[in-house]
Symmetry: C2
């Protein structure tokens, strides 16, 4: 039985979402994995918009519960940070001790993007924290996004792939996605050998 990977990312919002999911599914198969993609299943109709949204939430969580791991596309989405739905899903899979990997198609790191957000207008305060004009501090941990995301993946031994995609291929360039698959295939272990939260430490910094 191939390991099942949940495909998390904002590509579900693309006009050609199904096509991208098919490509991702084919790549998973190439490396010996089975892809589980949100949107693959028919969502039961609902009398209300909110009811339909809740039904999608249910199906997506069930898909994650049935998966052995996740590859999360954390490319910035409508702003400087990753898609929030994908971040929820990454946290969900980390808590279950599943295999995790993540990628971004933007090479500028979290600190650099936040600096851009403030047009460089940041100042170092008396408390040692660098802050924007709104007073909010900037994380500067040489990570690609918030430390819970980058840290959550790396501390579990998960791979983080960082790639520079062309602007018109920000959510369709699968170079970094494939890099995650390669590493997962090289380190393939049985699902029940995945690490539990209590086995983790922060010792794998580089």
């Amino acid at each position: 039985m191939p390991l099942k990977l949940y495909i998390a990312g904002p590509e579900v919002f693309l006009p050609n979402a199904r096509e991208v999911m098919k490509e991702k599914t084919a790549l998973c198969r190439k490396y010996g994995f089975e892809a589980i993609c949100p949107g693959d299943l028919d969502i039961p109709p609902s009398p209300t918009k909110k009811g339909f949204g809740l039904a999608i939430s249910k199906v997506d969580e069930e898909m994650m519960n049935s998966a052995d791991g996740v590859i999360a596309n954390l490319t910035p989405f409508r702003g400087i940070a990753a898609d929030v739905g994908t971040c929820f899903e990454l946290g969900y899979m980390c808590a279950q001790g599943k295999l995790v990997a993540a990628y971004t198609n933007v090479t500028a790191g979290h600190y650099e993007r936040t600096l851009d957000y403030y047009n460089g207008k940041v100042e170092k305060g008396a408390d040692g924290h660098t802050r924007g004009p709104d007073g909010l501090s900037l994380e500067d941990f040489e990570m690609f996004d918030n430390l819970m995301l980058h840290g959550g993946v790396e501390r579990r031994g998960g791979h983080v792939a960082i790639h520079s995609a062309a602007p018109d291929a920000l959510y369709t360039d699968l170079t970094a996605f494939e890099e995650c698959l390669k590493v997962l295939a090289e380190n393939r272990i049985a699902p029940d050998e995945g690490m539990r939260p209590e086995e983790l430490d922060a010792s794998n910094d580089d």
Copy 2:
């Protein structure tokens, strides 16, 4: 033993983060809960920035593992969506079957904020989806943010508090936070009675 609530939210980035955390801790106590706040513990020093970030990730996950529930501040942060670290944490706690509640200090919903992001320049395509000029579709589920967040909380019977805070009190106004505490106190149950993923359904739409 009072139930322990992990306090998730972008207020950790405020200049007066400790003060806000003290206020939140006092409110938790008022309703019979114990607050577990990121930043409460000393983080061990590290020779690298990244090592320090990984150490914080470890401490925060351990705090979540020891908590019985979470109140997530999902007020939009540096853009139109919630803080991505908080979203990771909400997903993490949902997967563990813990008590969940969430609030936002902005009343404009997810669809409305995304419409603003595109300056109203959206179009309905042949596939029935409303899309921005970049082709990305807009979620329109009458939710306050991405469906995995709003859905993840509501499907577990968790309370969602929506409040309009003054712009200068966006991350310090605790009206909605206190509303979550009130509801959690009213529905207080033992930690081991929390719902597991397999017990959930999407039937509680309104």
